[in-house]
C-alpha cells in the first residue's frame, strides 16, 4: 500500500487511522499504553490519599486552607474544552478537511497552554505560601500527582505542535492519520485524569 497516496474526501476511508497494519498496531498499542498509564496514576492517587494532610507535627497547611476552587474550576473548564476541540479536530480528519483539523488542533494547543500557565501560577502561589515540595509528605504527594499530570500536558502539547508543524504542507496520508489519532487519544486521557484530580484532590479536599 502506498502510504503517500493522495486521497480525496470521497476516497478517504472511514477510519483512516486503522487502515494500515502500522495504524492498527499503533491504535491498539496506544490503548494498551494508556491502560498502563492508568495504573501509574492509580498508584499516585493512592499515595496521595494515604499522605493527604500528613506532615511534620503542627503543620499549618491542609487541603482546606490551601486550595481555592474558583481557579481550579477555570482550569478544569479550559481543559475540558480543549478535549472537545480535539474531538472537532478528529471529526475533520474523518471528513478529510485538513485545514479544519489543523485549526482545531491549534485551538486545543492554545487552551492547553492556558491551562499550563494557570497551573504554573497555582504552584508558584503555593510555594510562596511556604508550601514547597519538601515541606511535608502531603506537599510531596500533591506536587508529584498534579505535577505528573502537568508533565503529561507538556508532552501532549509538544507532540501536537510537532504534528501540526510537520504536516502543515503535506496534508493527510494514511501514514500520519494514526499519529494524529493517537495524539488526540493521549489528550483525552490527560483530560480524564484531570477530572479525577479535580474530584479527588480539590473537591474532596475542600468540601469532603
Amino acid at each position: 500500500m502506498d502510504l503517500n497516496k493522495k486521497y480525496t474526501p470521497q476516497t478517504w476511508p472511514d477510519h483512516p487511522e486503522q487502515v494500515t497494519m502500522e495504524g492498527k498496531n499503533k491504535f491498539l498499542g496506544f490503548w494498551l499504553f494508556l491502560g498502563g498509564e492508568t495504573v501509574l496514576f492509580a498508584s499516585l492517587f493512592a499515595t496521595y490519599l494515604a499522605l493527604k494532610n500528613k506532615g511534620p507535627s503542627g503543620m499549618e497547611f491542609s487541603t482546606q486552607t490551601l486550595f481555592e476552587l474558583p481557579l481550579v474550576f477555570i482550569m478544569t473548564m479550559i481543559l475540558l474544552t480543549s478535549s472537545l476541540t480535539s474531538v472537532y479536530a478528529m471529526y475533520h480528519m474523518k471528513n478529510h478537511n485538513f485545514k479544519g483539523m489543523q485549526l482545531w488542533l491549534g485551538i486545543t494547543v492554545v487552551l492547553g497552554l492556558a491551562f499550563l500557565a494557570l497551573e504554573i501560577y497555582e504552584f508558584n502561589h503555593y510555594v510562596h505560601l511556604g508550601f514547597n515540595y519538601s515541606q511535608s509528605a502531603f506537599s510531596s504527594a500533591f506536587f508529584t500527582l498534579v505535577g505528573t499530570h502537568g508533565i503529561h500536558v507538556v508532552v501532549g502539547l509538544v507532540w501536537i505542535i510537532l504534528l501540526i508543524v510537520r504536516n502543515a504542507k503535506r496534508g493527510f496520508s494514511l501514514y500520519n492519520a494514526p499519529k494524529y489519532y493517537t495524539a488526540s487519544l493521549y489528550w483525552h486521557f490527560i483530560d480524564v485524569v484531570w477530572v479525577f484530580i479535580f474530584t479527588v484532590v480539590y473537591l474532596m479536599g475542600v468540601v469532603g
Binding site: L3, E37, V39, S43, T47, L51, P56, S140, Y175, K179
Partner: protein, 620 residues
Amino acid sequence: MSSIAQKKGFGATLWDYLTTVDHKKIAVMYLIAGGLFFVIGGIEAMLIRIQLAKPDNDFVSAGLFNEIITMHGTTMIFLAAMPILFGFMNAVMPLQIGARDVAFPFLNSLGFWLFLFGGIFLNLSWFMGGAPDAGWTSYASLSLASPGHGIDFYAIGLQIAGAGTYIGGINFLVTIINMRAPGMTYMRMPLMTWTTFVASALILFAFPPLTIGLFFLILDRMFGGNFFDHTMGGNTIIWEHLFWIFGHPEVYILILPAFGIFSEIFAIFARKRLFGYSSMVFATVLIGFLGFMVWAHHMFTVGLGPTANAIFAVATMAIAVPTGMKIFNWLLTIWGGSIKVTVPMLYALAFIPSFVAGGVTGVMQGAAPLDYQLHDSYFIVAHFHYVIVGGVVLAILAALHLYWPLMFNQMLSEKLGKWTFWFFFIGFHMTFFIQHFLGLMGMPRRVFTFGADQGWDLFNLISSVGAFFMAAGVIILVVNIIITAVKNVPVGNDPWEDGRTLEWAIPQPVPFYNFKQTPLVRGLDTFWIEKQEGNKEGMTYAEPLSDIHMPNNSFIPFMMTVGLFIAGFGALYNGEKEWAVPVLVLGLAITVASMAVRSVKDDHGFHIHKEDLMNEKGGK
C-alpha cells in the same frame, strides 16, 4: 537493501547490531546480555555461599555481603532471568504465530537497549562508591538511611531497565493480538505464545507501580521528597505496597513463560498433543489474574490486621489450584506418550518435582499464622529458590538447548548437556533443600555469618558444596556452547524431528523476513498436521508469493537510551556536584531530540520484491 547474506567486516556487523530492528537479532542480543548478567549474578551467589560455608567466616565483610546479596537478587531477577526469557520470546513467538516481525520493531530495539543500559548503570555502582545494600526489595525504612549512592544506582538503573521491559510487554501484546497468521485463532496459539501474552499483560499492569515506587525513592533520596520519611508525615509502608504490587506479578512474569517452554517440550518429546490444552490456557489466564490479588502475603508480619491477612492468605492458596491443573496436564501429556529423553526433556522431567516442592512451601507460607514463624528465615530463601531456580532457571536451560538450533542453526551437544543437567540438578537440590531445615532451625536470611555454637555449620557447608556443583554445570554449558560454535555444523529445520508448531517449519538459517509466504494455520500443532498429511512443501500457504514490506534499521533507539543513561548520572549527583543538573538536562535533551527526529523523519520501510524472493535459495 540486498537480502543476500554477505561477508561483512567487524565494524559493519557491529553497526548492524546497534541499529537492528530484527526480532531474531534482538533475541540473540537479549540472550548474550542476559547470559553475561547471569554469570555476574552467579559469581555473586558463589561469594555468598563461600562466605557462609563455615561459621564466623571473614571472607567478605558484613557491608560487602549486604551489597553482594542485594546485587545477586536484583541482577538475577531484572537483568538475567527476565531478559533471557525476553530473548526466547523474541526468537520464538513471532515465528510461532507466523508473523513477519513484532508489531513495533523500533520499540523492540529500544526496549533492549534500555534494559542493557539500565543493567550497566546498576552494575557501575560497584566501581563508583559501592553497590546498593538494602536487599533486592530495598524497603524504604532501610534504603533511605543507606549512605553513599548505592541505592540511587538501584533506583535509577531499574527505572531505565524497567522502561525497556514495559515497552517490550506492550509490543508482545500487540504482536499477538494483531499479527497472527490466517487461521491462528486464539485457541490454536501454542502455549509459549499464550504465556508470552499473559506475562506481557502482567508487565503492562505491574511495572507502573514499580515505576512510581522507584520515582518516590529517587525523589526522597535526591530531590527532597518526603514520601517515606515518617518525621515529615511520610509512610514507609507505601513502598512495600507498591513494590509488592509489582513484585508478586513479577514472579508470574518469570514463571509463566517457563510454563510455556515446558508445555512445548512435553508435547514435542512425548510426541503427543498437549493434554488439556484449553484448561492450560484457562489456568494461565487465571494465574495471571490471581497474581495481582496476593501481593500482601509478602507483608503478613507488617501488621495489616487479621482481616487483610486472611483475605490474602485465601487468595494465595487459590493460586495453587490452576498451578495444580498445569502439573496434572503435563503428567498426562507424558502418560502413554512415546518419550524421547533429550536434554530439554530431562529438564522438563526434573522441573515437575522441583517446582511442586517450591509450590508446597509456598502454600505453607500462604498460611498467615505459619508465616509468622517462617518469615525472614532461610525457609523463605529455600522456597523462592525452589520456584525460581527449579522453575525459571531449569526452563531457561531447557529452552537454551531446545531453541539453540532454531536461533543459531546448530545443535548443542547432548552429551555435555546431560553432564550440565546432572551437575546442576544435583547441586540445586543440595544447595537449597537443606536450607528449609536451616530456616526451621532459626537461621535468618541475609545474615553475613553465624556462630559456631548455633549448630548450623554442617548444613551450611553442604549447601555451599551444592553451589559449586551448580557452578560446574554452568561451566560445562559454556564449554558446550564454545565447542558447538567452533564446530558450526548446520542442522536445518525441525532438528528435533518432532516439532509441532510453526517455528519448526521455517527454513534454516531463518531468512530475515521470516516466512516467504504467510502460512495458513489449520489447527493446533499446525506443522505436525502438515507432516502427518505428508506435505512435502512444509506448510500450506495463505497467500501467493508477493512483495514483503520490511522496517528500516534505526540508530535512534540507541541514542535515546544513551541520553537517559547520561541523565541518570545527572540525577544521581543532584545537589552534590555542580555539573549534575546540566548533565541531567543534557541527557534528557539527547533523548527528546532523538524522539523528535524519529517523529519528524518519515520512515516508510522498504520492500523486498517478489522477483528477488523467487531467486533466493535461502527459502528452500
